[in-house]
Every structure is written in structure tokens, then in C-alpha cells.
């Protein structure tokens, strides 16, 4: 596992730095190609979004000069950049990639966009050949982990903006918003936004009332709604199921007596007041009435942050999933690490066996078929018995931390180093012995 990662994100670097590192989509394929061609790098991939720029690589020896690549490529000096960079190796890379794909490292934890962005980055790098087997394994697993996190925790389920919290509350009161009526009192930007959200979820009729009638007409026109004169507000308000109010009035404009009027005219059907005015437009006395549900800006803010708190709790669950997945991935990689050694060990002994049989043949002359079979069985039997313990030890070691030491010892004992590096190594990887090992796993 020789993964290496370098990058900046919204926590480590200010926007000015991230802007300078950001890579437009059009240049991403070239950049990936440059990265994977950089000395010491076998495979490379780049994730560039507004919140992060990261280079994920698989290196030849585990310590490629990624900082150097960044300095050269972006023409930035070490002073400008280095303080904002984070760098991970091996297991930490796996963890980081899993966390990024699962949206645990995002500014808004649990937002769904990042997974799509990572998938795009992966596809881009793969298309130019910068991602091959090693990064491929890592990201395929990362996507599976992200999916697991999404289905097993509620990290992505709650909404976080005030307007969407308002919609969620409205749905808790009315169920479907289909055909519901919205009354906008006081034409402001935020109430317009909330109204847009409500309309997007099915609300149909819109009324707008404003002290300046012309503004009400303008806004009503935009929503295809109806403008109401401010003086007629109380006579018409009961028509609405949802009232978004944001006037600059110093006193509450909706008081208890108004609420009672509305409710009696509506046969006590509930009304939802979204009060985003400061000071408040809905008096606390009116909010106490049965059937009136009034949320002021603080209540909405609180709902937003309670969602964020929920997400933190879910994020802890997600972190636990990630940790176990990192362990699993590592174990799998280690097992893969010992496979080439086992293969070369088998090939090495097989070569010795063949050479010895040939030598016996040249000394004793041609053997009968029976003799051939006996020699074959005898030599194979010896080799298999001798091989049994080293192979078992290698496989056991693969699951432990000492894996590399054991692999090293076996390679040295049997002098397997040179063979791996030689031109025959590619052929060795494809040898039938390897397939045999793999099927055993």
C-alpha cells in the first residue's frame, strides 16, 4: 500500500489559496496525465471542487515529491502554499478518501454533491489512463463505503437551510403541500425564497401584501399570484394555510384576536406562520392558540442547528463504519501483497524441480512411462510438502503488521528479488501458479 495524498480543503486553506489551486474541468485530464507522469508516481487522480483540491496517488516507493509537483504546476512558492497543505500516506489516505466520498469531510456534512464530484474526477482520470489497478481498487471501495454510510446512517437525510426547514415543518403540519395557499406579508428577499421553496413543493395559490402596494403587485406578478392591499390583510389572511411574514413593523401585526378570528373563519383548520421579521410580526400570545403554529427566525435557526447536531451524531456512526472499512481494505491489500511472493516462490521451486529431472534424465537415459510418473509424483510431493509451511506463514502474516518483514525474509532466503524485477516478472504475474493461488483465496 503505497498511497500518498496531498491537498487543501475548506478547513485548511482560505478561499484565495483554493482559488489558485482550482483546476477547471477542461484542464483536468491533462493535469491527471502530468501527475501520473511525475517521477515516483505510478497512478494519480485529482479532485477539484470549490471546497477542496486533492491529488491522490499511488507511488513507486511511498515517498513521491508531491509538494514539488504542486509548486511547479501552479507556480506557487513553498511559503505561499505549504502552510495550507495536508499530506497523508498509506492507511490515512484510505481513511481520508473514504471520508471525502462519504461526505464526512464536507463543509455541510452529509451533502450529497461530493460523491458525484469524486465519481466524475475518477472517471476523468481513468479515461486518460492515470487511474489503474491500485487507485481503481481504492475508489471502487470508497464508492461502496459511501453508499453504505448513506444507507446505514441518517447523515444525509436532514435538510439544513431555513427555507427547507420551513418546508419540512409545513409538511409536518399539512402532509402534502399540494394545493395549499401561501400568503406573503411584507415583500422581502428571504420571504420570496421561502415562498419559492413552498411552491416547488406543491403550494399553488399565492397572495402578497405589502405596505407599498406596488411592490406587492410586482412580487405577486412574479409568482403569478394576487396582490392584496395592506388594509385588507386581516380580511384575507384566513384564506392562507401558510403565512410568511417579514414586515418592518415595530409591533406585532398578528395578535391573539386576529388569530381567533382567522381560526373561527377557517373552522379551526391549522395555520402555519413563518415569521422571519425582527422584531417579530406574530405575538407570542397568538402563537399559543390551538391550531396556530408560529415559528420565528430563532425557532427556524434552532431547527436548522438541531439538524446539524443530528448530523454530528450520525457522523459519529459513519466514522465507525469508515474505520472498520479501512481495516477491511487494508487486510485485503495485504493479502494481495503476499500473492506475488507466493507465486514467485512456487515458480522458483518448479524451475529447480524441472532442472533436476532433466539432469537425471540426461544421466540415466530415457525413462519408461511408469518411471516418469513415479519421479514426477515424488518430486511434486517433496516440493508441495516443503512449500506448505512457508505459504501458510505468508498468508497468516498477511493479516498482521509484520507482513512486509516476512515477505522480505522469504524473498531473501530464496533469492526471489532479481526475478521479480527481471523482464520475466510480467509473465510471472500471469503464470498459472498465480491463478491457482487466487482461486484459493
Amino acid at each position: 500500500m503505497r498511497y500518498q495524498l496531498i491537498g487543501v480543503n475548506h478547513k485548511s486553506a482560505p478561499l484565495e489559496v483554493r482559488e489558485r489551486l482550482a483546476i477547471p474541468d477542461s484542464r483536468l485530464p491533462d493535469c491527471c496525465r502530468d501527475l501520473s507522469a511525475h517521477p515516483g508516481i505510478e497512478e494519480g487522480m485529482i479532485i477539484s471542487t470549490c471546497n477542496r483540491v486533492e491529488m491522490i496517488t499511488h507511488t513507486t516507493n511511498g515517498s513521491a515529491d508531491l509538494r514539488g509537483f504542486l509548486h511547479d504546476h501552479f507556480h506557487l512558492t513553498a511559503e505561499e502554499l505549504d502552510a495550507h497543505l495536508y499530506e497523508f500516506r498509506e492507511k490515512d489516505v484510505v481513511r481520508h478518501v473514504f471520508r471525502v466520498a462519504s461526505s464526512l469531510d464536507s463543509m455541510v456534512v452529509g451533502e450529497a454533491q461530493i460523491l458525484g464530484q469524486v465519481k466524475e474526477a475518477y472517471a476523468t482520470a481513468r479515461a486518460v489512463g492515470a487511474v489503474r489497478s491500485q487507485l481503481d481498487q481504492l475508489f471502487t471501495r470508497a464508492f461502496a463505503v459511501a453508499k453504505r454510510v448513506r444507507t446505514e446512517t441518517a447523515v444525509g437525510s436532514s435538510s439544513v437551510s431555513i427555507a427547507s426547514v420551513a418546508v419540512e415543518l409545513a409538511k409536518k403540519i399539512f402532509g402534502s403541500l399540494q394545493g395549499k395557499t401561501v400568503f406573503i406579508v411584507g415583500a422581502g428577499k428571504m420571504s420570496e425564497l421561502a415562498a419559492r421553496h413552498l411552491i416547488a413543493h406543491g403550494c399553488e395559490s399565492i397572495f402578497v401584501s405589502n405596505r407599498t402596494y406596488d411592490r406587492a403587485v410586482g412580487l405577486a406578478h412574479r409568482f403569478n399570484g394576487q396582490a392584496i392591499r395592506f388594509d385588507d390583510l386581516y380580511d384575507n389572511c384566513d384564506k392562507a394555510d401558510i403565512v410568511i411574514t417579514s414586515t418592518g413593523s415595530p409591533q406585532a401585526i398578528f395578535r391573539r384576536e386576529h388569530g381567533e378570528q382567522f381560526l373561527s373563519r377557517r373552522k379551526n383548520k391549522p395555520m402555519f406562520f413563518i415569521d422571519i421579521a425582527v422584531p417579530r410580526d406574530v405575538s407570542p400570545e397568538m402563537a399559543k392558540l390551538d391550531g396556530i403554529f408560529a415559528y420565528d427566525i430563532d425557532d427556524l435557526q434552532q431547527a436548522v442547528s438541531s439538524h446539524v447536531a443530528d448530523r454530528h451524531h450520525e457522523a459519529e456512526l459513519a466514522e465507525a463504519i469508515i474505520s472498520s472499512e479501512v481495516e477491511r481494505f487494508e487486510a485485503k491489500l495485504h493479502t494481495l501483497d503476499v500473492v506475488p511472493t507466493i507465486v514467485s516462490l512456487q515458480d522458483h521451486l518448479e524451475t529447480i524441480r524441472q532442472a533436476e529431472i532433466d539432469r537425471v534424465r540426461s544421466r540415466m537415459g530415457p525413462l519408461t512411462l511408469e518411471q516418469e510418473m513415479a519421479v514426477e509424483a515424488l518430486t511434486r510431493g517433496i516440493i508441495n510438502k516443503v512449500m506448505h509451511t512457508p505459504i501458510t506463514t505468508l498468508k497468516t502474516a498477511a493479516r498482521e503488521a509484520e507482513a512486509t518483514t516476512v515477505i522480505d525474509v522469504v524473498r531473501r532466503l530464496f533469492n526471489l528479488h532479481d526475478k521479480e524485477k527481471g523482464p520475466a516478472s510480467q509473465a510471472e504475474r500471469e503464470s498459472p501458479a498465480k491463478k491457482k493461488i487466487e482461486t484459493r483465496h
Partner: protein, 269 residues
Amino acid sequence: MALLWLRFALACYLVGLIYAFFALTRTSDLFSRVALHAASLGMVFHFVSLVELFLSDHLLWTSVHNAESLLAFLSMAFFMIVYAVYHTTSPGVVVFPVVFFLTFVAALDEQPVLQMSFIQHKGWLIAHIILIFTGYAALVLSFGASLLYLLQEHRLKSKKPSSLISFLPALEVIDQIGYRSLLLGFPFMTLGLITGSIVAMSAYGHIDFSDPKILLSLLMWVVYMIMVVTRWNSGWRGRRAAVLATCAFVAAIVAWAANYFSTIHRFAA
């Protein structure tokens, strides 16, 4: 045999009961599906048990335990209708315990066959039982819905949208469930009382209004009517509606208990 089927049904309803307690603390889609399937299976057993009872002797339903079994079945049927229309299992929080309790009592032991003087009015008697119990079942559901309404209203008013009871459907949906079962139950209850009076008239020649059973049944009907009228006229819901629904429910239980004091309306003991 009928008792055996009923006990099978009881075992299935137990899953529903566990769900009801479980649902108060956390939400699980899987568990609500399991509870739903268990309840459906329970209903099948229950239905078999009732049919067998009916075939063996039409008047067996007039024993207290079998009547409770019928009521439990009808309540469950209402719950299933609500599920089919609104796709919510949350009324189960109230309905499941009630159904389990009724079935449990009914499954305790066999009841002796009833010897009554009403044999000649068998058709009316069966109609009376089914109508009244459908009314009762609707009442159970509407009572459950009004409790859930209070819970959801409180949650929305307290402005602390905790995830604890987020399984509840929207306020208006709960309201509709309660209102519709109220409207549906009322004619059944009314017709049930009328058929009951017909049976009593023809059996005794008069109706004794001083009999506790008849008095309480009338009281229950009056509360029921007040609920329907206030709802119809001024859309009473929330706390006031819940108070009325509780009154009607209590009246129904008392009217039920009155079977033990009534001289003319007695079940086989």
C-alpha cells in the same frame, strides 16, 4: 379449534404490541413492516377463528370473550383500512395494545354456549352485534388518532423537533384519520343501538331506560354525536376534540362494563 386459531392470532399481535412500545422510542421501517405483516397474518388466523365460531353456533358471538374477539378483529380491520389509505402504521401505537388486550382476554378460555330467549330474533341480534362493534372499533381508532394528534401538536408547538417521535404522520393526516373514522363509526353506532332496541322491544315488549346498560349506551351515543356535530360545525380538533374523544371512549368502556350490572343485556358468563 376456534380458540387455537385465536391463540395463533394472539402470538402475531404480540409482534404488533412490541412494535407499539418500540415505536415510541425510535423509528424503524423494517420493524413497522414486520409488525404489519405479523398483524395481517394474525388477522387471517383471527378470521378463521371467527368463521369457525360462527359456523359452529351463530350465537356464540354473544359470549363476552367472543364479542371481545370480534371487536379486536374489527379494530384491526379499521387499522388496515387506514394503512391502505394513508400508508402509516402509527395508529398502531394505540390500536395494537387495545387489540392485543382484547384478544388476550378472549383467548383465555372457552365460553359456555349461551341459552337466550332471543333465539327468535337471531338475525337482528347478529346485526346489532356487528354494527355496534364496528362503531366501537371506529371509536377506538378515532381515540387513538386524537392522542397522536395531541402528541404531534405538542411536538410542533414546543418547537423542538426531536427525532424521537418523528414517525408520526403530518398533523392534518392524523386529523383526517380521526375525523373519517368518527364519521364512519357514527352511523354504525346509531344503527347498532336501533337494532338493539328492536331486539329488546320484541323480547321484553318495552325498553327500560333505568337499566344502567341502556342509560350508558345512550350517554355514549350522545357524546359521540356531540363530537361529530362540533367537528362538523366548528371544526373542533386538537385538545378539545381529544377531550371529547376520551369522554366517548370512557363512556364506551363504562357501557361495556355495564354488561355486568344490567339485568336485560347480559352476556353468557
